[in-house]
Every structure is written in C-alpha cells, then in structure tokens.
Amino acid sequence: MSRKPRDKRMSIDDVIGSLESGMTIGIGGWGPRRKPMALVRALYNSDLTDLTIVSWGGADVGLLARAGKIRKLVYAFVSLDSVPLEPNFQRARQTKAVPEVVELDEGMFQTGLRAAAQRLPFLPMRAGLGSDVLVNNPWIRTVTSPYPDPDGVREDLVAVPALNLDVALVHLNRADMHGNAAYLGPDPYFDDLFAMAAQRTYVSVEQVLDTAGLTVDTPVQRLLLSRMMVEGVVETPNGAHFTTCTPDYERDERFQREYAAAAGGSDEDWQAFHDRFLAGDEASYQAAVKAFHEESDR
C-alpha cells in the first residue's frame, strides 16, 4: 500500500467533466497575467451554461462571455493591458449578453475572497463607500463599527460579502502530482485566496515535478498552494497562453492583437478566429498558434 498522498493528476477533460452548469467558478491570475487559459478554452468549448464567473478579468472573461457561458459576472475590471478594453467583454456588456453583473472595487474583490477563505459572511472595508459600486449593487450593505473612534464616531463601513466559489481554476508554473504548486514569476496574484475561497480547486501548470524538485532551485516561499487546497493537477505546457507565465513565457502580444481584432471585428471575423484556433482541443490550439507564428514570421 502506498504511504504517499494521492496522485491528483488529471486531464483537461476530467476537470471540465467534473463541473456542472450553474456553478460559481473563480478564475485566478490577474487581467492578462497567468490565467488558466487551457482550462478556460475547454470551458468555452464545453456544454456548460449559466455560470457565475468571478475574475479580475482578461481574455478569460472575454472568451466565456463570447460563448454565452456567463449568467453572472463578478469583476473589478476586464482588460488586456496593452489592449486596454477587452472587445468581447465590451460587446457582451453593450448588448446585455451577460444578464447579471457585479462590478466591485479591486480591493473589495480581494476582501470578498478573503472572507470566503476565512469562512466569514463578510469583512469590513472602506472601499466602495460613496461610489456607485454600492448604488449598482444595493444588496451590498454597510455595517456600523461597534467600537467608537477617539472622537466617539462609530464608522459605517462596507460589509464586503464573501465571494464563495464552487470551483477555482488557477495556473502556476510548477506542481507535484499531489497539488503542491509554485509560482516563479513576479507576483503570486491571489491564487491561494481563490483556492481557499473554493470548495474545489484545479491547478494547471507548465510542468509537473517530483516534490523534491519544487524547491531544488526555487525558494520555498514560492510554494503558494498546499495540496490540501487542491483537488486536481493538470499539466498544460503553454497553458496560460496568450497571457503571461513569467519566466516560462511572456504575453504573446502579436497573438493578443489578433484575438482583439477578431473580437472587435465582424461576426465573420470572430467565426474565422474561432474556427482557426478555438474549435478543437488544446493540442490543436497550440498547433494553430505555432502555425500562426511561423506564418507571421515569414
């Protein structure tokens, strides 16, 4: 009998097969940075519908909105950075293709994940007071401090509601088969918070290593996820493409421009992009991206 923790390696299809329509899914990374795009592409091509998507958004939100997967979107921004406005997101908002939206302040979003991760109903915060975040989300309430300040004032603060997730999808650089996972880039973003806010977390990685290999050339502080937070591990090389996955690769700006042009173009433009890159599985996507670069290099 094995005395090791269990092997959690699975395929992209295994992950998608475990999900259900109507779920609340958190997507890690930040805007156009280290997004679990291989899993997002599979969601885009799945039969799942009526999803609640919780994301500091980039093309993950754009793709899922374009495919009509999102019933409710919780976000603070959606941007591709070098292309500031995400065309698929804009289109979805301007045609009301996403029926329900919750726009939060960036920091409120973190506080909401933190509340969920700590199994609290809310956490107090200043952010949101006076802004239209509270006007457009009248269900978000304030709470009066039980403690007066030195002037006797009891401050009314925003009670940021917990962002409880059914599932979190995150992409890191490395993991072992048990779900311990490390980021090697400049910023952990909030992938650990997503994982703890969720009932189940699936992590895709560039590379699966032996446990010992995780710290052989990398400081232990880069181990962001413990296996106790992780349900499944998927090895998806180039799986964050076309977002950053520093130091394995940077953002594919040329491809991102191609994506943005198709998303902001006619229905035929998008159909052509879909047919060329998105209609098949992850292997055919990666092959099509390779062919795209060989063609544009000529």
Binding site: A76, E103, D105, S131, D156, P186, D187, P188, Y189
Partner: protein, 257 residues
C-alpha cells in the same frame, strides 16, 4: 532655456503634485504620470517610493521602460495593503470628471447596458476613500469634464462627506493635471477649481473646454515653466525617445507634419 514643450510643462506640474508627499508610495497610472513622478523623485522629493508598475520597488530612478536597483516587493496584494495603510498617492486616468471631482472609468451611459463599456471601476473606489488621489487628463475637453459622471468610480469630496465619516476621513482628491491646466477640488461646495493655466493657454480656453461651471479665482497664475535642470532630466535621462509626445503632442512638431 525657453524651448520647453507642453508635455514638459505637464510633467513638471505632475511632479509638483507629488513634491510635498514625503516618504510614500507614488503610484502613477500611465505614461505622463510616470514621467512626472520620476521627475519629482529626482528633484523635489527624493524620498518618494516608486515601483516598476509591476511588482518591484525601485531604489533608483530609471528612464521610462527601464529598470533599476530593487528595494522592495509590491505585488498586487501588497498594493491593497498599502492603499488601506494610506501611505500612497495614486495618479489615475479619468474618462469623465464632474463638477464635484467624481471620476468615471467604468462605463459610459446606463450601467445596466452601457453605450460604451470601459475598464470597470478598478481600484478607484478604494483609492479615493483611503489615500491621496490625483487625476491626469491628456485631452481636456467637455467630453471629459462633464456636469455629472455617468458612473462614480472615484469619489469626490462632496460624495465622500455625504457617505459619512468613514468615507470622508481619508478622502483626499489632490490635483487634476490636464494638457491645459492644473485644477483641484477646493472650489465652492467642494467643486473643481482652476489653479493655473499652462503657458500659452488662456483662462477662457480652459473654461470653454470644461463642460461644467468651473470655479475660476479672480487671479489665475500661469503654471510654472520647467527648470533647466528638469528639462535636461526629462530629455536626456527619463524620456530621450520622446514618448511623452504621444500623449501631449508638441505643437511645433505637429505643425511640421
């Protein structure tokens, strides 16, 4: 030296917005604010803490797009910590600013189905009730300066006061620097006020380019011209490629094209 451009004047005006801040995290969004903050660190306020815009605090002052000695780590999660801690001055962009200094970067039109979806509110709601916030507007026009913003992302002083002491306590909208002028929100009843017009710009031009009743003091000075030292720093060190002219075109150069 008198052959400064409008972009140089804007950079110096932005630098002045940070000159009295002391040892805090200067957080510029976009090109001219980054140039202005770095200029301030090299001149009026060497104590400023600056970052690479990604996740590192830089010990020195690199040119736009450059890097320098690392003096700290500021991933996004720590940015939120510093916002709440308060030792930060952010200069954001603004698609709309209204008479009461509220800012919108969320969407144009009705929130439920906007005419034009923008970024989303990003960190503006949290910034404006936690730390000093300024705005940079590269094209001062009635489309930007509107009577009332469609969606309040950044909170001006009147709204903050109306929302209660917790909102007003750290609300500090400091400067609005544009390609034409420098403004603040200390006009009557917490409204936008003209502080100075850039050399070559008249008060009437600014009033005409503003879509609301702008508070104009009896005496409006000229925004100061950049010093010789500042011009050398801008041209030779911080922005030798002239990236600043993409945001604020050089009138002389534009005329030649």
């Amino acid at each position: 030296m008198t052959d400064w451009t409008r972009a140089d004047v804007c950079a110096a005006a932005i630098a002045d917005a940070f000159s009295q801040d002391g040892e805090i995290f200067a957080s510029p969004m976009g090109l001219l604010p980054t140039l202005g903050v770095r200029l301030a660190k090299l001149t009026s306020n060497p104590d400023l803490v600056i970052s690479d815009g990604e996740s590192l605090f830089l010990g020195g002052v690199p040119p736009l797009g450059g890097t320098d000695v690392v003096e700290g780590w500021i991933p996004f999660r720590r940015v939120f910590d510093v916002v709440a801690y308060g030792k930060r001055h952010v200069m954001m962009g603004a698609t709309q600013v209204d008479r009461h200094g509220n800012q919108n970067i969320s969407a144009i039109g009705d929130f439920a189905q906007p005419k034009r979806q923008l970024l989303g509110s990003r960190g503006a709601p949290g910034n404006t009730v936690n730390n000093r916030t300024s705005y940079w507007v590269p094209k001062h026009s009635p489309r930007v300066f509107v009577e009332q913003v469609d969606i309040v992302s950044g909170v001006g002083p009147a709204r903050a006061k109306a929302a209660g002491p917790a909102a007003a306590r750290f609300n500090d909208v400091h400067r609005i620097v544009t390609n034409l002028a420098v403004l603040d929100v200390r006009g009557p009843a917490d409204t936008v006020r003209l502080l100075s017009v850039h050399p070559g710009v008249t008060v009437d031009e600014v009033v005409d380019a503003t879509g609301f009743d702008l508070a104009v003091p009896a005496d409006v000075p000229s925004t100061r011209a950049p010093s010789y030292e500042e011009l050398i720093l801008i041209r030779e060190m911080l922005d030798p490629k002239g990236l600043r002219f993409r945001e604020v075109p050089d009138a002389a150069e534009a005329a030649q094209r």
